[in-house]
Each structure stands twice: as structure tokens, then as C-alpha cells.
Symmetry: C2
Subunit: 155 residues, 2 copies
DNA sequence: TATTGTTATACTCTATAACTATA
DNA sequence: TATAGTTATAGAGTATAACAATA
């Protein structure tokens, strides 16, 4: 058996999260993409759809579809924007707010559970290490994006 | 600014990986799901489709679609199974094998890059911590599955 | 009878392009 | 002229169900 590399370990954990999340929503109107939108809304408060598109880094068209589904399920509503009549504010309903309160609590509990599974002397190093990996990954993604932009402008 | 929890950090890294991977395949016939299949094949050697379905934990129907796309792109071929005429062996073509060799090398390089970004004294704790988190997540997923199976059999 | 892979069908996530209403 | 959101269209991942060939 070959010792897994750091990347192997990170990918295993990422995959487990994706599976666990998808499983949790089975049989409901919720999906990972829709929960991501609700989570963003929970933290930002009511915002226009184009703001959500930027926050989630997806197309405005995609936001339309996600908000349609969440509105049909009763978790969000579209309201008139107070000053821009082109825009529509999306906000959580009471049911959506209750759902996000529960979700935030489960999120905190899962974080506690996972932290408890890590040896106390490893915890700080784990958090520092994850932050360092995230920073480096951000840099790599930015470099790739810059290289592609340069290639496009050259062609 | 609130200090992110362990779970927040893990989810950030998972999200960055997903984005980086999807970006890397833009404009090619490859996608994350297809690469996962190729990666599995690279490690297992030629296998029947139902074996791939189990390995990737997706439906046989899904494997049919993924193999169709990869066969059209020239990365895999379907061969007759030597003893079971119902089954079809999927194996990498020369082009597929070359692609996976390159991918394995890039994978190793990325792992090195990320490890280099972590302070040396934090590295072992990071790896131990990730293993502990993966083990605990596995347990939680198994518990959920068991609870659901019990609920189904009761109804 | 059970298994392997396929066709049929459907839902979701996602994107680009064209269009309407508004800024 | 530019922006916000929608309709139109399309590709991809995924699932279940029905079916043919084979075990």
C-alpha cells in the first residue's frame, strides 16, 4: 500500500463532504447548489440576483433557475428592488430563515465533531495548514486565469 | 471578521479543488466525472463496467454514458470480456494511458507545491489531522446510511 | 432467476446568446 | 449604451425503470 500524498488526503476529504451533503438532501427539494445559494443569502441578507451570481461565481441564468426552484419550495421570495426597477431582491422566507438557522447549528456541530476527532496537539497545525493550502490554491488559480487571459489576448 | 471553523476551512479547500479541476478541462472532451473514471481505470487496469459503477458509486447507466464519451474521445475502448459474454471490459487506449501518466505527474507536482506552502513543523500534523477527519466522516456517513436503512425497513 | 449493459425518460447544474425593461 | 433578469437552447451528470442477452 502506497502512502497517500497530501493531495490524495485533501481530495478524499473533499469527496466525502460532497457525498455527505448530497445524501443529506435526498428526497427534499434541496440540492447542494440550492443550499449554497441559501447559505449565501443567510450571510448577506436580501440581495439582487446579479449579486448572487457574482457571489456564487455562476451565470445570471443559473441564478434564475435556482431561485425559481427555491421560490417554488417556499424558501425564498423575490421582491421589488427599492431603487432599481430592473433588479429583483431575493430574500429568505420565514421557512427559509428557520432552515438556515438549523443548518448553521448542524454546521457548527459537525465542525465540533470533526475537530474532536483530531488529536488536540494537531488541531492548530491542521487549521494553519489548511489556510496555507487555501492561500496557495488561490494563487495557482489566479495564475492560471492570468495565463489564459494572456493567451486569449494574444490570439 | 469571525474566525472560520475547521469545517469552514475544509469546505473552502474542497471548493477550490473542484473549481481548479473543472477549469483545467475547459475546452477539452474531459470533465471531472470522466477524469475520475480514467483515474480509476489507471489504477485498476481493464475492468467491466459494473466494477466501475461500484468503484465510482454511480449507476451502471451513468457508466455507459461516461464510457461512450471517453470512447468517442479516444481515451478508452470496450473489449469483449474473456469469460462473461454479457460484460464488456473497459481499458485505456495508448492516448488514454499517456494522458493518465501526465495526470499522475501533475498530481504529484501539485501535491509537492501544496506541501511546500505548509510550514514544515505543521506538515505531519496536517496529514494526521486530515486522516482523522476522513475516518470520522466515513463513520458518520456509515451511521446515516444505517439509520436510513433501519427507517426504510421499519416502514 | 439473477446479472450486465443498454435504451427510454426525467431532473438538475451549468453555459452562451438573444431579448425586454430599465438605468 | 450598459445592466438586470428572462426565455431559448444545449451539454453534462445523475437517477430509475424496462428490456435483451447471457449466466
Amino acid at each position: 500500500m502506497i502512502e497517500p500524498t497530501l493531495l490524495d488526503r485533501l481530495l478524499v476529504v473533499a469527496d466525502l463532504f460532497a457525498r455527505d451533503m448530497a445524501r443529506a438532501f435526498e428526497g427534499t427539494a434541496l440540492t447542494t447548489a440550492r443550499m449554497t445559494l441559501l447559505w449565501s443569502l443567510h450571510h448577506s441578507g436580501p440581495v439582487a440576483q446579479h449579486t448572487l451570481a457574482e457571489a456564487l461565481d455562476v451565470s445570471p441564468r443559473n441564478i434564475t433557475a435556482l431561485v425559481d426552484a427555491l421560490e417554488a419550495a417556499g424558501y425564498v421570495v423575490r421582491r421589488a428592488h427599492p431603487t432599481d426597477r430592473r433588479a429583483r431582491l431575493v430574500e429568505l422566507t420565514a421557512a427559509g430563515a428557520r432552515l438556515m438557522d438549523r443548518t448553521a447549528q448542524e454546521h457548527a456541530e459537525l465542525s465540533e465533531t470533526l475537530l474532536a476527532a483530531v488529536a488536540p496537539r494537531d488541531r492548530e497545525a491542521l487549521e494553519r495548514g489548511l489556510d496555507a493550502v487555501a492561500v496557495r490554491l488561490h494563487e495557482l488559480i489566479a495564475e492560471h486565469a492570468a495565463a489564459e487571459a494572456a493567451a486569449r489576448s494574444a490570439s
